[in-house]
């Protein structure tokens, strides 16, 4: 990175992204809420969409709309080509070896459920163990609980340290010959911790276990390379990556997908159907029963183009800058406690304020145009672990600014003032 003379290194880094130009791409950011300019800091829940994505959806429905993988007419061919081009964009984005390893699903949740119900039900036996962590989102807990209920396998939980870092010792102790699968988030949605997944994957492989990585909170914030990680499954959602809702991706190693039975039955996933016997298509289509979210996939492709053009690393640096700034500023607020202080974090700041419940913080911030998430963040075990009923969570994206960090800080002071 070139550093302009006389400028602080960090400032040059932020400028590298040209935030104001980026913001111009996001129509939803330019509005007032309760008479105040919107400060959108709920990006871990969902990100806003750039016009490039919105226009892609619009164009698809206006001119190319048709069903995919069937029909010989021009529109169907255009729709199919665009849908499969999106799959190739995802492959490249994850650095996956083959497009056959990219399954379109509704989102991270469906990706995880697919693995649990297809791979899990086929392969797990009583006394096998599935390992998750104390910091998982409900979507990476409940599918495994259901699977364990169905198969008699046991669920093991890797504990987390006070600062939000997973216990390496606890993980090493839990891994064993009974471990069949480790399901871990790349980044914690409630704490922001970036987990050392590469190391965890290699440890799991040593005992012969597979690893599923929940990438919902990672893909928009750091470069992801499934070949380098050597993960067996990687799931993420389009809508947290500036893409549409209703579309997500499951990456799975080809050899695993080949052996996995269908997750759902229906059209689009079969070779031949008779009342006696049905044969299924090869992956990925075997796992895409029914008409998929064609527009969503194409929109996700546009979102990936958008992020690629800016560069995952530049985005990550910008968000780190905001995180550091915000962490320093809110740490100075008396009575405020940050939940999740791991050394390696994405731009997520969860906090509680003495004497002011998170919901009241959320409402008071909202009155000032500042949107944050309040509650348990679909991670109730994390709340129990840190003995808080709820937290307020600010989460940053590529379009957030330092001024917005200031607005957050001012809003928290206002909450303190109201509850004095």
């Amino acid at each position: 990175m070139t550093t302009a003379a006389g400028k602080r290194h960090s400032a040059a880094r932020v400028d590298a992204l040209d935030v104001q130009r980026v913001r111009a791409d996001f129509p939803a950011l330019h509005q007032t809420v309760h008479g105040q300019p919107l400060v959108y800091l709920d990006n871990a829940a969902t990100t806003q969409k750039p016009r490039q994505v919105i226009e892609t959806l619009d164009r698809y429905y206006r001119s190319d709309n048709a069903n995919v993988h069937r029909g010989v007419h021009a529109l169907s061919e255009r729709a199919t080509a665009a849908y499969e081009t999106a799959r190739e964009k995802v492959r490249k984005f994850l650095n996956a070896p083959s497009v056959q390893e990219i399954v379109f699903v509704r989102g991270t949740t469906e990706g995880i459920n697919l693995v649990a119900q297809s791979w899990g039900r086929t392969n797990l036996r009583p006394d096998d163990e599935v390992v998750i962590t104390e910091t998982e989102h409900h979507s990476n807990i409940v599918p495994w609980q259901m699977l364990c209920g169905q198969t008699g396998a046991q669920l093991r939980i890797v504990p987390v340290e006070n600062n939000g870092v997973l216990s390496a010792e606890g993980y090493a102790q839990i891994l064993g010959r009974r471990t069949r699968l480790v399901a871990v988030s790349h980044c914690s949605n409630a704490l922001g911790t970036i987990n050392p997944v590469k190391r965890m994957i290699s440890q799991a492989h040593e005992v012969g276990a597979l690893v599923l990585v929940d990438g919902a909170q990672a893909v928009a914030h750091l470069p992801v390379d499934v070949r380098d990680l050597d993960c067996d499954f990687y799931a993420f959602s389009g809508h947290k990556l500036y893409g549409p809702t209703g579309i997500g991706v499951l990456y799975a190693k080809r050899a695993l997908l080949q052996e996995m039975p269908p997750y759902q039955g229906g059209g689009e996933m079969v070779k031949h159907v008779s009342f006696d016997r049905t044969s299924y298509l090869d992956p990925p289509l075997r796992f895409e029963a029914g008409t998929p979210d064609i527009a969503g996939a194409i929109g996700l492709g546009a979102a990936i183009d958008y992020v690629d053009a800016l560069g995952s690393e530049a985005i990550g640096r910008h968000e780190q800058e905001l995180l550091m700034l915000a962490t320093a500023a809110i740490s100075r607020i008396p009575g405020l406690r940050i939940i999740g202080t791991a050394p390696e974090k994405t731009g997520i700041l969860s906090f509680v304020l003495d004497g002011v419940h998170a919901h009241d913080v959320g409402t008071i911030l909202d009155m000032q145009g500042v949107a944050v998430r309040v509650g348990h963040h679909c991670a109730m075990p994390v709340m129990q672990r840190y003995c808080v009923p709820a937290t307020a969570r600010a989460s940053f994206a590529l379009y957030n600014t330092r001024e917005e960090v200031d607005a957050l800080v001012a809003g928290i002071y206002r909450a303190k003032e109201v509850f004095g």
């Binding site: 509650g375 009923p389 109201v418």
Partner: protein, 148 residues
């Protein structure tokens, strides 16, 4: 404070949040108890009361919640004490009406401060949590009442 915020966080609400009445208290000889939970936000209250000859002679609540749910619970315990079961139910209906539609069934007294919550749909469940729990306690329902 802006006018908007003042309409939600009225002084009475702030006061009942700061010093909730009958809080972390279960009356001696309580014969009706219920547990209420708002899964959306994690607010959780247990309402305990002593019912004698159809009259709520003592009532308290325990747990943790936001300012709106705590103040609403606190106000509720103050107002319901000494009321008959029918009067308590009527109050629940009035509060429900106040929070979900224009106006209420009758004179609300202090409870009128909850009217501001109506403008914040996401917070209505906070204000009704204790009241739903009271209803369950009066009906001697088992298990946890949920606002969902």
């Amino acid at each position: 404070m802006t006018a908007d915020l003042r309409s939600l966080y009225e002084e009475v609400i702030l006061d009942h949040n700061r010093n909730p009445r009958n809080f972390q208290y279960a009356p001696p000889g309580a014969n009706h108890v219920a547990h209420g939970y708002n899964p959306l936000c994690g607010d959780e209250f247990t309402v305990s009361l002593r019912l004698e000859n159809g009259v709520v002679t003592d009532i308290g609540f325990e747990g943790a919640g936001c300012a709106i749910s705590t103040a609403s619970a606190s106000l509720m315990t103050e107002i319901v004490k000494g009321k008959t079961v029918e009067e308590a139910r009527a109050l629940f209906e009035s509060v429900h009406g106040l929070l979900t539609s224009e106006g209420s069934g009758g004179p609300m007294g202090k409870l009128q401060v909850l009217a501001g919550v109506r403008e914040y749909p996401a917070r209505v469940k906070c204000a009704t949590l204790a009241w739903h729990t009271l209803q369950a306690a009066l009906r001697k329902e088992q298990g946890t009442v949920s606002t969902e």
